[in-house]
Symmetry: C2
Subunit: 337 residues, 2 copies
């Protein structure tokens, strides 16, 4: 068995090697191998391909065993280009840093540690000590989650330990772990908005969620309510958000995701039509919530475990597309002379 790592994935060759117990060759391939059949002759039926992107112009690549995407999103994979007999797995793990980012955002909104730190000087200590202004707590506050999937539940597990009240809006989710105080259907979003101290967007961007939070939703929120978006910017109406923040209809926002991203090296795109970072009640960060040193470690440890399972004939984790067993052509059984 060989493991081909294409493009960015090849940068993590050593991580995968460190976690694998199965003995196999790890072969880095250049970025072009994702789109070109030029390297296909090296790939055989027993092999694994690890890549965020995969497409073939002229029908599927030759058979291989497993396509392991080293991320959650499958938008880089052209399903028709992956042979039908090849299983496809993905990997998550980003819910952990995202949940940490969201918890830090809520705690910092209440505690304001940077202001406390800025106030501290040796020379003014007696005055600083005596004039301390009490801050807030997240204990007892209500966390409103839009979406109660993997990310929402990972946030909820942490928020619950702090004594927050958790109300999620989700059409399908069930609360098998008993993490939420309530899970409401989408038509009860206004009720959730009215009670939420923090409104955290934790759903995917789809046709149904685009502009889900607009002027009417901001009007339904508490005047102190804080939006935290770590999912996709367009779930929140850009102009309505700027309006709600600048007119202080809501308390504020922590924004880690944006309306424009650079496509290439020379793309001078703006993150938004509005300069959110100039608003004092907007905390703007550059899509950093899941951008941790440990995320690739955890992801490649998972992929290594899955390759070990494959080698041992055990069922794969996060199998998003089952391999279709190659049907034996009827002729094979009957044409024997």
């Amino acid at each position: 068995m060989k493991v081909f790592m294409i493009g960015e994935a090849a940068n993590h060759k050593d991580k995968l090697a460190a976690f694998l117990t199965t003995s196999c060759d790890i072969v880095p391939l250049p970025r072009e191998a994702a789109q070109s059949s030029e390297f296909d002759s090296a790939i055989s039926a027993d092999d694994v391909v690890v890549s965020l992107r995969f497409s073939r112009r002229d029908g599927p690549a030759p058979d291989f065993r497993l396509m392991h995407v080293p991320g959650a999103g499958l938008d880089g994979i052209d399903m028709a280009s992956v042979p039908a007999g090849t299983g496809i797995c993905n990997v998550f793990e980003h819910e952990i840093p995202i949940a940490e980012f969201v918890m830090a955002a809520m705690l910092n909104w209440e505690i304001r540690p940077e202001a406390l730190r800025a106030s501290f000087t040796t020379d003014t200590w007696p005055d600083v000590y005596r004039s301390r202004v009490p801050h807030g707590e997240i204990c007892g506050l209500t966390l409103g989650l839009v979406g109660f999937g993997r990310i929402g539940r990972t946030i909820a597990r942490r928020a619950r330990a702090f004594g927050m009240r958790i109300v999620a809006v989700d059409q399908f989710a069930e609360d098998t772990d008993g993490l939420a105080d309530a899970i409401l259907p989408p038509d009860r979003l206004p009720e959730m908005l009215a009670g939420a101290d923090f409104l955290v967007i934790a759903c995917p961007l789809t046709d149904r969620t685009r502009n889900l939070i607009g002027a009417a939703e901001f009007a339904a929120m508490k005047p102190t309510g804080v939006l935290v978006n770590v999912s996709r910017a367009p779930i929140v109406d850009e102009a309505a958000l700027y309006d709600a923040l600048s007119r202080r209809t809501i308390g504020g926002a922590v924004l880690d995701v944006w309306y424009g991203y650079p496509a290439g090296a020379d793309d001078r795109v703006a993150p938004s039509r509005f300069r959110f970072e100039e608003l004092p009640n907007a905390v703007c960060t550059p899509h950093s919530s899941a951008w941790t040193t440990r995320l690739p470690e955890r992801r490649y440890a998972f992929i290594a475990r899955n390759i070990d399972r494959l080698a041992a004939g055990e069922p794969l984790l996060n199998l998003v597309r089952e391999p279709v067993p190659a049907s034996r052509p009827a002729i094979q059984d009957t044409s024997v002379p």
Copy 2:
């Protein structure tokens, strides 16, 4: 029943009134009533006194029912001045904001949200986005707790939800809630220090804990280890701490408690002999961890509940000194003519 609220406690008269279901007069008394018998004649055997301080020069005050301290510390109460038949209760609740402060401190150490925020500008967005530097996570890190009392356990409950490993050093504590991975006796402190990514001081200052963390202990820590002190400064040797931080023997420190506090309005005391706030790896805050708007609300809600229990003849919560029932003098039974 009357409830006398002395000095600072009297500022919270309305909070207590809002939470009480028992009908009783709430009487504010000036700060002097804590030390002077001048107001004692108003206090009768059925009454409650709420005060952080209480002392009488010439033996105990006249009998009253309950002394409720509106804080955890009893150092302001001269026990001999409180009549033997009077019960004494205290109140905690500060473990919640302290735990939130500690969790925020650890998350911020790893995530550095202020640096992320500072990096974000519309004009440099494409470069900022492409040159993001991965940050850390607390998941999987080891939290070393010095002390596993109320505060330590409240921190542990939250840290556990984040997937931290929790090792506490405590002579007496038992882990009835299964929150810690290990509770070690004090002689195994070096072992805990060697494994801790964060070392949180959560024990009281006593003769045994003064200077508990000194040069040898800093030397035993990981070079990336971070000290968080939300307890009392003198548990950590002042000069050894400055040395460890300035020479970068350890990764850093979050310091919310200090070596000097102003005693009166004109006291120009310094927080420390050293200017810790000038060290880039020291985060200094002015004893703010428990200084929240909700803390007095929660404390007076607790006190109101306890007064309601007293009125209903139910056992009191947080009874730190049982009332000694008045012994009927033998003479009373025999001297009847």
